[in-house]
Symmetry: C2
Subunit: 193 residues, 2 copies
């Protein structure tokens, strides 16, 4: 199963591709950053991001496109452009019938390190270890996109399947359920996303 | 000159088309609302809006697509979906080489009524009068999309052309310059959009 992760952004949009094999073994396939200039008009920046994402999707033919979930509470300076870049990824996937998953930064940290409050270096070390990379891809948007793709493959079984299974969850699944519940609550606030 | 106005939204996305002739005479061409259900996933909603907008653009072949400018300070419940719907309109226009204009609600009110703080009924009455409509299109998203298209045609000459002409502005042009300046300041805050 090929997963294409997207760390959306208007200036730098990270794209990371991993393959999930048997026993959730993950292999690194590709990582890149699509860049646009703040001197370009908004519509042409979105067109560049869209075209860049379409190129990646057609090249790697992912089974799922996993995108960082954006919240209205995020950095006001960049949140609208980030939401629009995420929208470009959703459109490019939906046009090809590819399922879209949205994972919050907390879900990503939890799936990769087992700790939803892990700091960036902890997450990066685990990404390098799991994917057998000799060095971490830069800029951070590239690493975040890989982590987003990995999150979708590594999230605990039973995650997001609702309350009826909660009493049988492992510790990791319980942590995930709490994070998912919080995201659901915030989704209520942010129905736009 | 054909102008296609967009009042972006995820649940209801208004589209209004007007033709601007000699002496800024405006004629009504088309108005519609693209609707998506909150029960549908975000990616498929954006795909529906994008496809609906592409249909309108290919049918009416506008010279400009004029879209309401979204601010991060707007309603947190809907702002991200609104920004993404605006992104779909920008992409659909940019893919066809059609210039995109963004106008704030204050600019729209100012261009149509001469008063940037006009209330909705005042704006609607002027839209009906200018376009010779016997009744106002509903829902409000349809009316707002027409007003957005009209704003682009009716904005004062010299609007948005910078400070060097300010000393020669008419009263309407001065009001516009103030509104544009405010929008520019807010754009600084909202560089994402």
């Amino acid at each position: 199963m090929i997963i294409l992760g997207v760390d959306p952004g208007l200036t730098r949009c990270g794209v990371g591709v991993v393959e999930a094999g048997a026993s959730r073994r993950l292999s690194f396939i590709h990582v890149d950053v699509i860049r646009t200039s703040p001197d370009t008009s908004q519509d042409l920046r979105l067109l560049s991001i869209y075209n860049g994402l379409v190129d990646k999707i057609e090249r790697f033919v992912p089974d799922t496109v996993s995108i960082e979930r954006v919240f209205a509470q995020a950095n006001r300076n960049t949140v609208l452009g980030t939401a629009q870049a995420a929208g470009m990824a959703m459109l490019a996937a939906a046009q090809r019938g590819i399922p879209v998953a949205l994972h919050t930064p907390t879900e990503v940290k939890l799936a990769i390190t087992g700790n939803g409050k892990a700091d960036k270096p902890q997450v990066e070390r685990m990404v390098m270890r799991i994917l057998n990379l000799s060095q971490m891809p830069t800029p951070p948007d590239a690493a975040d996109a890989l982590a987003q793709a990995m999150c979708h493959a590594l999230r605990p079984a039973g995650a997001l399947q609702g309350g009826e299974r909660e009493q049988h969850l492992t510790a990791a699944q319980r942590q995930w359920a709490v994070a998912a519940q919080r995201a659901k609550h915030r989704r209520g606030v942010d129905r736009g996303m």
